[in-house]
Symmetry: D2
Subunit: 364 residues, 4 copies
Amino acid sequence: MSNGTVVLAYSGGLDTSCILVWLKEQGYDVITYLANIGQDEDFEAARKKAESLGAKKVFIEDLRSEFVEDFIWPSVQANAVYEDRYLMGTAIARPCIARRQVEIARMESAQFVSHGATGKGNDQIRFELTCYALYPEVKVSFMDANLMHISHAPADLYLMTKNPEDAPNVPDVLEIEFRKGVPVKVINVKEGKSKDTPLEIFSYLNEIGGKHGVGRIDIVENRFIGMKSRGIYETPGGTVLLKAHLDIETFTMDKEVRRIKQGLGVKFSELVYNGFWYSPECDFVRHCIAKSQENVEGKVQLSIFKGQVYILGRESPKSLYNEELVSMDVQGDYDPCDASGFIRINAVRLREHCRLQGFSDPKP
Amino acid sequence: MSNGTVVLAYSGGLDTSCILVWLKEQGYDVITYLANIGQDEDFEAARKKAESLGAKKVFIEDLRSEFVEDFIWPSVQANAVYEDRYLMGTAIARPCIARRQVEIARMESAQFVSHGATGKGNDQIRFELTCYALYPEVKVSFMDANLMHISHAPADLYLMTKNPEDAPNVPDVLEIEFRKGVPVKVINVKEGKSKDTPLEIFSYLNEIGGKHGVGRIDIVENRFIGMKSRGIYETPGGTVLLKAHLDIETFTMDKEVRRIKQGLGVKFSELVYNGFWYSPECDFVRHCIAKSQENVEGKVQLSIFKGQVYILGRESPKSLYNEELVSMDVQGDYDPCDASGFIRINAVRLREHCRLQGFSDPKP
Amino acid sequence: MSNGTVVLAYSGGLDTSCILVWLKEQGYDVITYLANIGQDEDFEAARKKAESLGAKKVFIEDLRSEFVEDFIWPSVQANAVYEDRYLMGTAIARPCIARRQVEIARMESAQFVSHGATGKGNDQIRFELTCYALYPEVKVSFMDANLMHISHAPADLYLMTKNPEDAPNVPDVLEIEFRKGVPVKVINVKEGKSKDTPLEIFSYLNEIGGKHGVGRIDIVENRFIGMKSRGIYETPGGTVLLKAHLDIETFTMDKEVRRIKQGLGVKFSELVYNGFWYSPECDFVRHCIAKSQENVEGKVQLSIFKGQVYILGRESPKSLYNEELVSMDVQGDYDPCDASGFIRINAVRLREHCRLQGFSDPKP
Amino acid sequence: MSNGTVVLAYSGGLDTSCILVWLKEQGYDVITYLANIGQDEDFEAARKKAESLGAKKVFIEDLRSEFVEDFIWPSVQANAVYEDRYLMGTAIARPCIARRQVEIARMESAQFVSHGATGKGNDQIRFELTCYALYPEVKVSFMDANLMHISHAPADLYLMTKNPEDAPNVPDVLEIEFRKGVPVKVINVKEGKSKDTPLEIFSYLNEIGGKHGVGRIDIVENRFIGMKSRGIYETPGGTVLLKAHLDIETFTMDKEVRRIKQGLGVKFSELVYNGFWYSPECDFVRHCIAKSQENVEGKVQLSIFKGQVYILGRESPKSLYNEELVSMDVQGDYDPCDASGFIRINAVRLREHCRLQGFSDPKP
């Protein structure tokens, strides 16, 4: 007699294989689930291994397109960066993977979901919060299988990016086209190649970015539970997109809207990092950010070279950049005399303050 | 008979020379003032030119050290970046220059200060707000001398940085030591060279950064008065310091303090960009940020190569990074069971929400 | 021959009558415009006066309903309060009035709009920013007619509210029903009276609030242009709505959504106070706030007595308040053991900090 | 043989008496600790009861003065209000009580502290976080003694405040004097009575506020752990101080400093509500807020009547309120022409936006 059905997030590796066996020994029916979000993996070998270890059913799900569209694109719109540096590749993968796992659990009438994400890291939190948020009745079983074996040596730290020192001596030049704040096309200007589906665009940016060593960082970050931990990340495509999106956004968005949206983006990043992708507040923030992107449209030209992304130019039908207004000769609504009034009115408060209390740091 | 005395911010160039002559024609005594904040300029030639055009007095002031200590260092502490990209080299130069000009005006009993900062740009605002803030009774006379002549062609756009494509093929490796959030020493690890006064440190970082093409940007930014304008900037030393400071700060500062300080840094950047260095609120923000830097202390190792800065590592006597706590084997205050409770408590709200209203974006 | 047509915001009083006459003397055709936003005024007398002074056309427009629906309702949703105290009755009236004035100007092909809102106050700014925002080509002529005469004595300071000391000794008890964050019905519980159109609801709350002396304040506020000024305001209906809305909002909105929305509400208040109702950022903020109100639905019971509003209770079909979950006996998703884990995880960072640096204020 | 020593937060009531007995049965030496923070209690009866139940030692500590000075005063400076309404009397009492308990535990070499604060509420969190923060090695034992008995009926809900309907028909008029943002003196204007120590001032404001029914609220609030709960609070003295402090602060503080400080105050309130009084971030925020209060000095006159506090006036040697500047006749730094320039510069962006994209809500 079964104690119930568990959907196990299975990687094919030693850790989750141990969990599979252990769960079966405890009398559970085990359904394994392996998500393809673009990692380099032998999915068929994993299927065979799961079956041989007694999995009742094996799901191997290609989530690559929905990962790009439902999770990466909103992060691009948000300019999502945690603590000024981390682009959160793993943080946004987790809710994507768990969302499908919960769908399978509901579909298969499984009361349990299980995973082997490490206990001290953020991944356990992200995984479990998503499960509870989308399937409140579920029981989550976490097994810290890492305890059973030594860690991997970090020899193969960088998988996606070349060492910038070994990168090509000639830049690639890309043009990325955005609509509503997400890329809709990328063109390699010299080669004439172009991509226009979300998955192809993102994969191509990963390829080109990786070839030039873009997006490597070695940081100490603050985990949700309060500890600092060192992380070494590579996000080639994400880094290219962040720079390009920042550029087209500033070009097309009103400055005060941008200021408010920038604060929402910081909030979004914290929420996602901490595992709250599926929360009412993250829903709300995503909605607001998406609203801000309505006119973020146009093309950005950029060059990628030796680990760095250089913006070369941009153009947009929705631009608020009025070359004539900025130039000296055409006045538009701008009258230099007004500027003096503007400054003097801004100074009323400062002069009053100086008379009454002075400023603390000037030497005079 | 004189109409009064004007202290004119004088560059030695055509624009401000025109202003000098015009002011004299209007019956003013003109004192010229030229600040050395590190620009490449023939100061003695400027002095002679001013004298020959009838300046009553000529001040040439070396402000380099105070520019670094009083203006650049607080900006480093703040991680000051405007609109996510611009490091504000010119925005912080302006109050430094105007501060001394106002000192001279008070000293020389001049009722007027004058400058030729362009009318449509931000510099007029920054200059004039500083004057009013520090010398409320002053009269500011602005002359848009640019109207008199055509603009410079932008042939010599980049003065401080090499083109990254032409930069050396071998990185430089630096170690920067911080105390209270400001650099106190820089060592070139391979060459063994070191610098330890503010001015020398910053000049050296400019030199090394420039040699490797670090810190070039081509952006469209939002000016204070609401127009978008294109800016091409190079901030080699500032870029190196920003990356290094971000690293040591995250390493040594509590994560929640950092979050609050990050918001204050954004505010600081807006204030400085808009010309409010000397304002009660910028005073207040600077004070708070300085307070947050008390334990920002330690050494950052980094490599500079082809336009990019790579953090190699960091160490600090004040680190909150507890390697043992993070590792799997030593538990410290951390108990894996607590994590489950932590997650379930965080999920109470999410589960309740899901039951009542569901989430908007998941497919299930 | 006419110098053009001016639409003048006309009050029927001495100031704007002077402006009318002066404009005609300068050779303009003058169209007068008087908005009815609920003030106590003899509109027909004003019409006759305008005509007798030579107005080419007279518009008297009843904007009461659109004032309530388009301007007051969004402010209620935002819990709009400037500097923690001022409910901004006049700040939101200005864009409402100017919007119609600009419509008339377009309709009548007038190139000019004119008003007599005082120069040092905020009203000039609010009026003119609205005109420029909605009719960029318009020319705004402001005449500080107040300079021509002495100010009104503040004898009749309070027009809408009774002195609380003279207010009835028996409270009124109301039930206000909200949908999407705006009131859709108010019932006087004892009297059985009810109102259910926006204008009637708001007028009735003004009446009852006024009768009990609710919503009087005497404050010093910070004007947009930096000066402090004293203001004496009465907002009886707005005060009742603010309290009721705060209550139903907290009852029905997720706490983290509320936190983000609270920040947006502060931003909204600053924008509106400063005259930016019609700005891209205020549009954006209003949209986000409206989104947050989707589930703000239910009934609030309150008592109004001697200047004060007391919340008696609330109920909602969308409540997130789960009485069973809160109570001791029914556990729901909440397990007391989880709380200990939750606390200990939150404490990891604090204990580490105490060991390394201690806390600054405890005596031990 | 003892299992160790426990310092138990003891109230003299049934709950904590049960805990005392149970702890002794488990083999612990129990030291009871009862804090006097101004509650109405028979402390000597509690001492006798504790002794009779076998407490090894009994501490009864008068913390009233330090509660006012170290906890209430910083909250007054912050205008601390949680979710726009709750003044957090109990939230700030908890760290005060726990701080002393931890001191006693250290002094008595006790490894354990224990309390009976209820499990589902916030008090357990506040208590335990404080203990861990100040004594990282301590073991906290929480016993949910409430489970043992039925709850108190809420008959005696309001202890400190009169029903406003039964309050006196004549107002009291007070003058409160502030220095550095905290009250240093209160005078009852009609009676001539005055108080000038922190404890006396606060007690007197509680007395007068209570007499007039000030500070009662009935709210639903969001607990830290995510549930909504209903709370009925009375904070007479705190409410009077909040209104008076808001007034003198706005009167004396620069508006932009105030805006930043307002955000810090919201953050402070969340931290304190959630139990993080002793945290690096709350330390930091308290420091910043205290800095902002340096010039918050002066006297506020107010009237207290039927549950309401009315500000009558204020005066300050540090006021930034310049009556002459505000008036029409004296110009100071303010020139009406400048205002037009100021407005037109602010409108540049709005006009450009209108031309390109229009505004979403105006009817035209």
